[in-house]
Every structure is written in structure tokens, then in C-alpha cells.
């Protein structure tokens, strides 16, 4: 069973091109992420990492190329496409929590894709599915008393974990993370990565963008993106330091 899962790609991007102002933001990028894989996406600032993740989660439609989800082309109709998107969770660098709502309402916001209007409205009135939400907080070592706190009252570390909790609440098969450790100190960065790698246990998969090659431990595969082109895609074990140097050489410093 395990091997079967590995054989079916969750997400495939085929010759994806996204135009930019002067040069393409992505230029014929092809890649696959299979269930259970933990993939790091490396590259200097402006290489197109965020664009690639936006194509992956469906926010951005590429000008050319195909996006396949579990072997099926990404649906065109709103409803079917949203059903696919609901299986892809994104951890945003700036977290994008809804400050004015409570932690529980934020967690439940991740269920809106499957909930109908009545529950969506009710969630704004009374706490829904408290047990499920509490279980996720506990799993992330957060106090369940936070459930009724507005997000605006949380500390920085708590927010980070609440964002993770919301990601789990979505029950995604593919986790995307856009530079999740960029603004964290080394200890927190390490903790967060460990947590993400742990959460992305099979059959889930993880695709995470980084610009720090020193944090690659725990990833199965590494992609190198530079100026919108994929320059390498290989197992982490076989990655040479020279490849990393080349990836960052001559790139504008961020």
C-alpha cells in the first residue's frame, strides 16, 4: 500500500510558464510531488518560489502548462476545483490568520470549503466542533483555553502554532509552506521545521520553500529554482555543495 501511494503523484506540474513584467516568473517548470514525500524548494529571492506555490495551490493559473492533481487535470469548474484545492493546505509566511476571530473560529475557517452556509454562519455565532479543535491544539502543545481567545491576543509563537493548527484542521494531503522560517530565530525555525516534517508523515506530502540550505535535514528531495527555471531536482543525499553554490552564485542578495 505504502509503495502504491508513493507511485501516484499527488501533484504534477507540467511545463508551467507564468509570465511576469519583463521576464517569465516561471519558465517551463515541471515537477511532481508524491504522497509521503518531503520536498524542499530552494532558490534565491525572486527565483519564483512563491509563484510556484501559488500555482500549486491554485491561486494562480499558469499561462502555459498543465497542473494535475492525483493524475486528473485541475478542474475548471469552480466547485470541482475547490474540492481539489481543499486537499492542499498552505502555511503562509505571514500566517494570514483572521485577527478579529477567535482561535476556534480560525481553525474552523479551514473547514469552510466543505461546510455549507448554515454552519459557516453558525461558526460566527457559537463555538462549533470544540473537541476536534481542542485535539489539534493539544497535538501542537497549545493550551486548549486559547480556543476562545481572539487571534489578536496571541503571542508570536502561539500564532505560528495556531496557523499550523489551522493547516491540520483542513486535513490536507499536500502541505505547502512559503518560507515558513524566514522571520524566525534559529531555535524556533528548527522547531517549526521539525514539527512540519513530522506532520507531513505519509500519506501526506510536504513542499516547502526555503532560502537557507543549512536547514535541509529531514527532507527527501531538493528542488533548485533560479530565475523561474528548475536547475536541479534530486534526492537530498546526492546534493553536492557545488550545486548549491551555483544556485546562489551571482544572485542578488535579499
Amino acid at each position: 500500500m505504502q509503495t502504491d501511494l508513493h507511485l501516484t503523484p499527488l501533484l504534477s506540474l507540467q511545463s508551467i510558464t507564468v509570465r511576469g513584467r519583463s521576464q517569465p516568473r516561471l519558465d517551463g517548470v515541471s515537477l511532481q510531488v508524491c504522497a509521503g514525500e518531503r520536498v524542499a524548494l530552494l532558490g534565491p529571492s525572486g527565483a519564483g518560489k512563491s509563484t510556484l506555490l501559488a500555482v500549486a495551490n491554485g491561486l494562480l493559473a499558469p499561462e502555459r502548462g498543465r497542473v494535475l492533481w492525483q493524475g486528473e487535470p485541475r478542474a475548471r469548474s469552480g466547485r470541482a476545483r475547490r474540492r481539489q484545492q481543499a486537499r492542499i493546505g498552505t502555511l503562509w509566511q505571514e500566517l494570514r490568520l483572521i485577527e478579529e476571530l477567535t482561535v476556534q473560529q480560525n481553525l474552523n475557517a479551514a473547514r469552510l470549503a466543505v461546510w455549507g452556509w448554515p454552519r459557516a454562519l453558525l461558526n460566527l455565532l457559537v463555538p462549533l466542533e470544540t473537541q476536534a479543535c481542542a485535539a489539534i491544539l493539544q497535538r501542537l502543545d497549545l493550551d486548549t483555553s486559547l480556543l476562545n481567545q481572539p487571534v489578536s491576543a496571541l503571542s508570536g509563537g502561539q500564532r505560528q502554532r495556531v496557523a499550523l493548527a489551522r493547516l491540520l484542521r483542513q486535513e490536507p494531503q499536500l502541505l505547502l509552506a512559503d518560507e515558513p522560517v524566514a522571520s524566525l530565530d534559529p531555535r524556533l525555525a528548527g522547531e517549526l521545521l521539525t514539527l512540519l516534517l513530522e506532520l507531513a508523515s505519509p500519506p501526506r506530502a510536504l513542499l516547502l520553500s526555503l532560502h537557507r540550505p543549512d536547514l535541509l535535514a529531514g527532507f527527501d528531495r531538493v528542488l533548485g529554482l533560479r530565475a523561474g527555471r528548475l536547475v536541479f531536482d534530486q534526492p537530498r543525499a546526492s546534493l553536492e555543495p557545488a550545486q548549491l553554490e551555483e544556485l546562489y552564485a551571482g544572485a542578488p542578495r535579499s
Binding site: 501559488a54 495551490n57 491554485g58 491561486l59 469552480g78 476545483r81 475547490r82 474540492r83 481539489q84 484545492q85 481543499a86 486537499r87 492542499i88 493546505g89 498552505t90 503562509w92 505571514e94 494570514r96 490568520l97 483572521i98 485577527e99 478579529e100 476571530l101 477567535t102 473560529q105 475557517a109 479551514a110 469552510l112 470549503a113 452556509w117 459557516a120 454562519l121 460566527l124 455565532l125 457559537v126 481572539p150 489578536s152 491576543a153 483542513q170
Partner: protein, 528 residues
């Protein structure tokens, strides 16, 4: 059980339910055919050169009156605003007490709607082009004064104190320290006032003070719908152009937006702004000359009909509780309609861009279409009364609030909405959760301010009858009952002052951010 922020925005829309239940009872069913003709005529505006000529002439008069009134109100407002600023008094004379007194005095001209000023002046000096200009400039000036003084008093004073300590004179220090941060906010705000002035000038026309408003009312009353639409489309074009121009300038000059969520704060290109202001002066002079606006005409009072001895017994015998009660009901229903329906419509049409454009068009019509004309149109099918008036006022303010909401949704909460969309949430729920959460407080705060404006405006739908103080006032005006008029104007002023106080409190409560990350409230008075 406490409703969360996005729900607050939708709750006022519940007022639609009782209205839907009551409307069938209010309709007299007579004029559906007329309403149909009116709607059909939208596609066939009259292109007769004679009609076009008179409409264009009317539009020029209205625009000219608006421009002059606007300029007058800005000058008046700046002077009075500086005169009623606490920080100015404290710096120059050591005490801020006089500022509070001037503020209180200014509340009186502000509380009286420009239509009342217009009709009162009309009685005194007769039909003169200057009447509409002054009628708008007085309450607008008092309003600008309040905003200017609020802005001045909210500016940080550190640099002012530093200048004073180093020995600058009080006026020089004030000008240097507070002038530059004040200017962009005042200019941004004054752009909105120009739009308001155009609406008010049209409205005054409906009541016979000349210009396009008069044309619109005459064509409506003679059921010449095709000619009516000629005027409406032109007005719509001018209004949208003006709004687009103002939006452009605001972006170009990096002006603060009205709901203050995306504070960009600093004004740029100061020289350009000053140049534009300078270029306006000759334009104003030419407009004043062409419209034959003679301020001196204000001094020549016409003979008033003899006022009978005041009959205070009759004044006291007016049905005050029901007059005031009706006015309040009208205000609340109209405010709830405007505040609640705008976000509801946005949510409903979110998935369909074409429907969104339609709603925006409807709002634009609502903004420019003077409420008394809507009221007259509604009378084709509804009986006169409070709700008919409330519908007319609600529609007008829906246009204003809707545009504001749209502007605000374009600048705030985009990240949260995107995050939800990326997770497969439908466009409507993503809008509700993602954008309305952060908008709720500032939007409702603006709604509270709008309710206060609606209370003042309720006089303009007085002509559909039985709408409380407004209709009684118009009646007193036309029957030259000076005693009643005085009592009613006072009652109105008192009521609007109370309303203003109440809406200020509501606004403060809404804008006090519970966890001190301080985003929405800095804009202070700028969104009036």
C-alpha cells in the same frame, strides 16, 4: 453567544425582512405601469438637441454652484477649524477652553441640513444663484471645521513642542510642525466634499433652486421619462468621472483612504497639489461671474409676508412625540438598509463579475439620484409614509456606503481572503470571513456616522408626507408659519446634536481596538 465581526456587518440587513412583510400592504398598485415606463426609458434617453441643451445648461449651473459652494466651505472650514482647534489655542494663548466653546457653537449650523438653509435663505433674499452656494457652504463649512480641528488635535505634538522650546513664535511653530502632516489629510477629505457638494447642489435644484435638479424634477413630474434619463445619464457620467478623478489624485498624491485601513499617510508631490489649488482660483472666479453669483445679493432682503402673532399654543399642540418618533424610525430603517444591504449585496454577487458591475452601477445611480426624486418615484406604487421615505433615503445612502465598502475591500484583508480561496473556500465565504472581519469595525463606525447624516437628511424626503419633522417643517415653510418653523428647526437641531453625540460614542466604541494593534482608528474624522 456573541456574534463575531463579519456577522455584525450583515445583521443590519435583517431590517429587510419586516420591510418585505410590510411592503405589500403599503403598495396601492396604481403605478407599476409608470415604473415600467420609467425603467424602459433608461435605454431610450431623449437625444433631442433642445433637451440636451437644457440638460447641459442645467448641469453646468449645478456643477458651478457645487464648485463655488465647495470652495467656500473649504475656506470657511479651514479658518473655523483652526479657530476651534485645542492645540492652536493652547499654543497661542495657553488655554484650550475657547476652542471647546467655538466647537459647540459650530454644531448649530452643522446640524441644519443644507436644504433647510436653502429654503430659509430663499424666503429671505428670494431666488438668487448665490442662495444655493451659501446654503451648501454654511453646513459644509461647519463640518469641514470640525474635521480640520479633529485632525489638528490628533496630530502628534512632539515636533511642535521642540520648535517652541527652541524659541519659535507660536504661529510659526504651528505652521511648520502641523501644516505638512495636516495638508494631505485635508486635501484628501476635501475631494470627497466636492462629490458631496455636487450631490447637494443637485438636491437643492430639486427644491427649485435651479440647475439640473430642477430639470430632473420637472421632467419626472411631467412623466417625460426619456428626457429625465438624458439628465440622469449625464449626471451619472459626470459623477463617475469626478469620483475617478478624485481616486486618481488620491492615489497619485498618496492620500489616506477613507476607511483608513491602508494608511499610506504621507502626502507626496506637494508642489503639484499647490499648483492645482492655485489653478482653481481663476476657474472659480469665471464660474462665479458666469453664474451671476453676487454675494451682495444676500444683503438685500425681500419684503417678507407679514408674520402673524406667534401662536405658541398651536406650536405646543403639534404631535411632537409622533413627529420625533417617525423621524427616528425613518432614520433607523434607512440607516440599517444602507449599512446592511451593501455588504449583503457584495457577498451575494461575489462569484459573478457581471452582477458585481451591475450592483456598482445601481449604487452609482443611488448616489447621484436625489432622495426626494426616488421618493416621488416610489409614490407611483407606494403610499406616502415613513417607510417610503426610508426606502428613498436608504437607497441613496446605500450607494454611498456601498462605494465606500468596495473601496475598503479593495485595500484590506486581501491576504486572508486569498488564504481561504487557496484552501478551496467559495468566493462568498472567503469574502465574508477573510475581508469583512477586519472591515467590520471601521465600516460600522462609518455607518454610525452615516446614520447621523441620515437623521439630518430626513428633511429632504419630507415632501412625500407623514415622515415626521421633515414634512411638518416643509409645511410650516410653505404656510409661512414662522413660530412653527422656529420650533421645528430647533427641535431638528437638538435631535441631530443628540444623534451626533450618540453616533460619536458608537464610533469610539467600535474603533477602540481591543488588543492595541491600533490599525483602524487613526483616520479619525477623515471619513466624513
Amino acid at each position: 453567544m456573541r456574534p463575531a465581526a463579519p456577522l455584525w456587518v450583515l445583521l443590519p440587513a435583517l431590517v429587510v425582512l419586516p420591510l418585505l412583510a410590510l411592503l405589500p400592504g403599503m403598495s396601492h398598485g396604481g403605478g407599476w405601469e409608470l415604473v415600467g415606463q420609467f425603467a424602459a426609458a433608461a435605454l431610450r434617453p431623449s437625444l433631442d438637441p433642445l433637451v440636451l441643451g437644457s440638460v447641459l445648461g442645467g448641469l453646468a449651473v449645478t456643477a458651478g454652484m457645487a464648485l463655488l459652494a465647495w470652495a467656500g466651505s473649504l475656506v470657511l472650514g479651514l479658518v473655523l477649524g483652526i479657530a476651534s482647534s485645542r492645540v492652536v489655542w493652547r499654543t497661542c494663548f495657553g488655554s484650550s477652553a475657547p476652542a471647546s466653546w467655538i466647537r459647540r457653537l459650530l454644531a448649530i449650523p452643522r446640524s441644519i441640513h443644507e436644504l433647510l438653509w436653502g429654503l430659509l435663505l430663499l424666503q429671505v433674499v428670494g431666488l438668487q444663484p448665490v442662495v444655493a452656494v451659501v446654503a451648501i457652504a454654511i453646513p459644509f463649512g461647519a463640518l469641514v471645521a470640525r474635521v480640520v480641528s479633529d485632525l489638528l488635535d490628533a496630530l502628534p505634538t512632539a515636533s511642535l513642542e521642540a520648535l517652541r522650546c527652541s524659541g519659535s513664535s507660536a504661529p510659526a511653530a504651528l505652521f511648520t510642525a502641523l501644516g505638512p502632516p495636516l495638508l494631505p489629510q485635508v486635501i484628501s477629505y476635501s475631494g470627497y466634499r466636492l462629490e458631496c457638494a455636487l450631490r447637494s447642489a443637485t438636491l437643492l435644484g430639486v427644491f427649485g433652486l435651479g440647475g439640473l435638479g430642477t430639470e430632473l424634477r420637472l421632467t419626472l413630474q411631467s412623466l417625460a421619462f426619456n428626457e429625465l434619463w438624458t439628465g440622469l445619464w449625464l449626471l451619472l457620467a459626470v459623477m463617475l468621472l469626478l469620483e475617478a478623478l478624485m481616486g486618481r489624485l488620491r492615489r497619485r498624491w498618496a492620500m489616506p483612504a477613507r476607511l483608513g485601513l491602508a494608511q499610506r499617510g504621507v502626502g507626496r508631490q506637494g508642489q503639484e497639489m499647490v499648483a492645482v489649488a492655485m489653478a482653481l482660483l481663476p476657474v472659480l472666479a469665471v464660474v462665479a461671474w458666469r453664474l451671476e453669483v453676487h454675494p451682495a445679493a444676500l444683503l438685500e432682503w425681500q419684503g417678507l409676508p407679514p408674520l402673524g402673532a406667534a401662536d405658541w399654543g398651536a406650536v405646543a399642540a403639534l404631535p411632537w412625540p409622533s413627529l420625533i418618533g417617525n423621524t427616528l424610525v425613518l432614520t433607523l430603517v434607512a440607516a440599517a438598509l444602507a449599512v446592511g444591504v451593501a455588504p449583503l449585496l457584495l457577498v451575494l454577487v461575489q462569484p459573478w463579475p457581471a452582477a458585481g458591475a451591475l450592483v456598482r452601477g445601481l449604487w452609482a445611480l443611488g448616489r447621484l439620484w436625489p432622495p426626494p426624486l426616488t421618493a416621488l418615484l416610489l409614490l407611483f406604487v407606494l403610499q406616502p409614509g415613513v417607510l417610503t421615505g426610508a426606502l428613498a433615503l436608504g437607497f441613496h445612502n446605500l450607494g454611498i456606503l456601498g462605494r465606500l465598502l468596495l473601496e475598503a475591500t479593495e485595500t484590506s484583508g486581501g491576504n486572508q481572503e486569498q488564504a481561504l480561496l487557496a484552501a478551496g473556500v467559495g468566493p462568498r465565504l472567503a469574502l465574508l470571513y477573510g475581508r469583512f472581519s477586519s472591515l467590520a469595525r471601521p465600516y460600522l463606525a462609518y455607518g454610525a456616522y452615516r446614520a447621523d447624516v441620515i437623521l439630518r437628511e430626513s428633511v429632504v424626503v419630507g415632501l412625500v408626507g407623514a415622515t415626521g419633522l421633515g414634512s411638518q417643517l416643509l409645511e410650516a415653510l410653505s404656510s409661512f408659519a414662522g413660530d412653527q418653523l422656529l420650533a421645528l428647526v430647533l427641535a431638528y437641531a437638538l435631535l441631530t446634536l443628540l444623534g451626533e453625540d450618540l453616533s460619536d460614542r458608537a464610533r469610539q466604541w467600535l474603533l477602540e481596538t481591543p488588543h492595541g494593534d491600533g490599525h483602524p482608528q487613526e483616520a479619525g474624522g477623515t471619513w466624513r
